[in-house]
């Protein structure tokens, strides 16, 4: 069963607008979440993370929000740029910290 869910396979936005990518998780014991960006034929690249003791973390154009009660997190990209076009994966460490579990990914397309 999927412990980390990204229900939107794709998202299209215009350059300069906000991109919002969503992620849900099922295990309330997860307490550290990460977003990765991936281009074809390359490895995932770390973007931003958030610990469960926070509800927001910001790094430049990227902000991650965590709603623990809803078991939901989101990644906001403002403003979106064409170079942001990639697959974005939400991931969570399992309770023991021995595995990072990925969602299925959302393909973001930013048009100029």
């Amino acid at each position: 069963d999927q412990q980390v869910k990204q229900n939107s396979p794709s998202l299209s936005v215009q350059e300069g607008r906000i991109s919002i990518l969503n992620c849900d998780y099922t295990n309330s014991m997860f307490d550290y979440f990460l977003w990765y960006k991936k281009y074809p034929a390359e490895g995932p690249t770390f973007l931003i993370s958030i610990s469960s003791i926070k509800d927001k973390n910001e790094d430049g154009r990227f902000t991650v929000f965590l709603n623990k009660s809803a078991k939901h997190l989101s990644l906001h990209i403002v403003p979106s740029q064409p170079g942001d076009s990639a697959v974005y994966f939400c991931a969570a460490f399992n309770q023991a910290g021995t595995a990072l579990i990925f969602g299925k990914g959302t393909t973001l397309s930013v048009s100029s």
Binding site: E42, G43, G97, A99, L100, F102
Partner: protein, 113 residues
């Protein structure tokens, strides 16, 4: 920035053959991982390795798979008898001591014919 290095970038093999995928993690990292991604699908966890033993493995990581850290720098994934369904991109990753981000290599594309 330090990198995780994987070799080869592409590997073609015949069904039933053994393959070894190689990785050089970042030098002061302690935790090592293998993941795979079948074309167009999710990045799937295979195995994690710490202190010279497996910490966790997924149901994909059956008896056909093994991992080894033969020296202080390399981390390998062996598939003993490859199947067609083993065709995928295999990623190695590593991290330091705390619960922190994983650094991924650029992957080995394995094609089983």
């Amino acid at each position: 920035e330090p990198e995780v290095t994987q070799t080869p970038s592409h590997q073609v093999t015949q069904m039933g053959q053994e393959v070894i995928l190689r990785c050089v993690p970042i030098s002061n990292h302690l935790y090592f991982y293998w993941y795979r991604q079948i074309l167009g699908q999710k990045v799937e966890f295979l195995v994690s390795f710490y202190n010279n033993e497996i910490s966790e493995k997924s149901e994909i990581f059956d008896d056909q798979f093994s991992v080894e850290r033969p020296d202080g720098s390399n981390f390998t994934l062996k598939i003993r008898s490859t199947k067609l369904e083993d065709s995928a991109m295999y990623f190695c990753a590593s991290r330091g001591g705390g619960l922190e981000k994983l650094f991924f290599g650029s992957g080995t594309q394995l094609s089983v014919l």
